[in-house]
């Protein structure tokens, strides 16, 4: 029998285990439709704020000579109210709405905007490493995390995911705080705070100086985090960080992730990356006698 690519992240059921990561191509419903047709099981939107944000001036993104990317886009986004109107016509695509804010009320306000939209889940961005007062600065404060998760869970009638990253508070404490407040799943990880300096002009390249590292350099770190979370807690996990091949995706499943997100690899390999990875996973499953994704989840922990 053909193996199935269907994935369940707690109560979120997807036809395919590969999602688009937040902030990648994530501002238009037409593009979401295209990515879904191209093999993404779900798409996560750009992180939305209460009001539109322009983000930082360019340069906001660069590729590293050693591989990988650093970005400080600065969470530019059209704002939750505008975005909600834009995705209102959606019927087919499992859309996970990513949200950033500073206080619990921000999240309540934003979730209410989506009352007329088909949303598969919300992902709380507790981990963007380069914007003040939101993202990682929130994730680093477990008490605030508890309050935000509690409010978001109350406002939302679909599952709520917390996306964590590497900040000054141990991320496992952030995960613990989110679980205590009823979170449905965890995405790990966001980009890792980083910078690049140009030696000819002797200055940082990004306009914001600091940005977030993504792509293949962070994969081993992200994998370690997924393994640690799944070893310590019983919570569905979405792996994120440096996935660019089916092998990377399978590694994340084996470490304990029920699905994975893909960001930077789209810059390297373009949109075919979804289909390529889906096919690769299917072949691996056939070759190794797996019929469902969940049979692989966490297998690496057996030894």
């Amino acid at each position: 029998m053909e193996p199935s690519l269907a994935a369940s992240i707690g109560k979120i059921d997807l036809e395919r285990p590969i999602m688009l990561a937040s902030g990648i191509l994530g501002i238009s419903l037409d593009v979401f439709n295209r990515l879904y047709r191209s093999g993404a099981g779900a798409v996560v939107t750009k992180s939305l704020s209460k009001e539109p944000w322009e983000g930082y001036p360019n340069p906001t993104i660069l590729g590293l000579k050693s591989g990988g990317w650093i970005n400080a886009v600065g969470l530019s986004n059209p704002g939750a109210p505008y975005f909600a109107k834009m995705i209102e016509p959606n019927t087919d695509v499992p859309i996970i709405v990513s949200l950033v804010g500073s206080v619990p009320e921000d999240f309540d306000f934003m979730i209410k905007q989506f009352a007329n939209c088909k949303v598969a889940a919300y992902e709380l961005n507790l981990s963007c490493p380069h914007v003040a007062k939101v993202g990682l600065e929130v994730g680093d404060d477990p008490e605030l995390v508890k309050k935000i998760v509690t409010v978001a869970k109350k406002s939302s009638d679909v599952p709520v995911i917390a996306k964590v990253g590497l900040g000054t508070t141990h991320y496992l404490n952030t995960v613990g705080a989110a679980i205590e407040s009823g979170i449905d799943a965890i995405t790990a990880i966001n980009t890792i705070r980083a910078m690049a300096i140009d030696v000819d002009t002797q200055r940082p390249i990004l306009s914001n100086k600091f940005g977030g590292l993504s792509g293949s350099p962070i994969k081993p770190v992200a994998l370690r985090c997924v393994y640690e979370i799944s070893s310590k807690y019983n919570i569905p996990i979405i792996g994120c960080g440096g996935v660019s091949t089916w092998e990377d995706a399978v590694e994340f499943f084996l470490a304990g992730a029920s699905s994975v997100q893909i960001g930077s690899a789209i810059g390297d390999n373009w949109i075919n990356v979804f289909d390529d990875i889906n096919k690769g996973i299917k072949k691996y499953m056939t070759d190794n006698g797996f019929s469902k994704i969940e049979e692989m989840v966490g297998l690496a922990k057996k030894s």
Binding site: R34, K46, R203, S264
Partner: protein, 270 residues
């Protein structure tokens, strides 16, 4: 270390040419940029100021490339003010290029949209019969007319200039001239780059006559590689799927000719 085309390569501007009171060409040495395809662009970093998308201009020396920039907001004015001897960072090239047909060709450019048109002219075959149409608001803003003539010396050709105010060449909108030309002649390929409304009308006129037409689009760009999403037009990403699109495809795109996105990603009318 090996060059990574997504990492800014520092180049020194060697020469600055004033084209009009608001347009300058900055010339620099770089083998990769010297050999890009027509329609391809670079992301150009002006250290301390900004980074912006620029079509790569031709030069008359091998191994050299250029950017032809009109000063507009702070970013482009920053590039415009770069002097010979100053350093800029260049990454790319990005994007696809025109599908150049053979036979009778019509190129329609406005403003700095002429940059990819000039590079396209370096690819035409000696047998091609080429018409270049240059649109400008007034006489002051006409540039590259002599360059087009020069590049087409071996060809049967004409270079037509229109100005909105009639201060030079033919008076009127360049798109009215397009309408006239495509009504009177058959073209094997029509190519356009410039202000969106100009491209929209050019595509409409050419397409209505059943002609093969392509346009090179501009949108807000941050990454240039298909990551950030800021350049989307409908379901297309201009930096990665374009910048060159077939007219037929564009006319089925509900944003082309009508909307572009601002820095926050909100659709605004042209």
């Amino acid at each position: 270390m090996q060059r990574n085309h997504n990492h800014p390569k520092i180049c020194t501007v060697e020469k600055v040419i004033d084209e009009t009171p608001t347009v300058r060409t900055l010339v620099f040495s770089d083998d990769v940029m010297a050999n890009v395809l027509p329609g391809q662009f670079a992301m150009v970093w002006v250290p301390g100021i900004n980074e912006l998308p620029m079509s790569v201009m031709i030069t008359d020396e091998p191994g050299m490339a250029a950017f032809t920039v009109r000063r507009h907001g702070p970013a482009s004015t920053g590039l415009y003010n770069v002097k010979a001897g100053q350093k800029i960072g260049v990454r790319g090239p990005y994007g696809n290029s025109f599908d150049l047909k053979q036979g009778r060709l019509l190129l329609v450019g406005g403003g700095t949209g002429l940059v990819p048109m000039m590079r396209l002219l370096t690819f035409v075959k000696p047998e091609d019969d080429v018409t270049v149409l240059i649109g400008a608001k007034s006489k002051d803003e006409v540039f590259f007319e002599g360059m087009a003539e020069n590049l087409l010396k071996q060809n049967k050709h004409q270079v037509i200039v229109t100005t909105d105010d009639g201060s030079y060449g033919n008076k009127g909108y360049v798109t009215d001239m397009v309408d006239k030309l495509v009504s009177e002649n058959h073209y094997d390929g029509v190519y356009t780059c410039g202000p969106e409304i100009m491209m929209y009308k050019t595509v409409q006129h050419a397409h209505s006559k059943g002609l093969f037409v392509q346009a090179s689009l501009e949108r807000m760009m941050k990454c240039g590689v298909g990551i950030c999403g800021s350049c989307c037009v409908g379901e297309d990403l201009v930096c990665r799927d374009g910048t060159v699109f077939d007219g037929k495809h564009l006319l089925s795109n509900k944003e082309f000719g009508h909307f572009h996105r601002n820095k926050a990603g909100i659709l605004e009318n042209y």
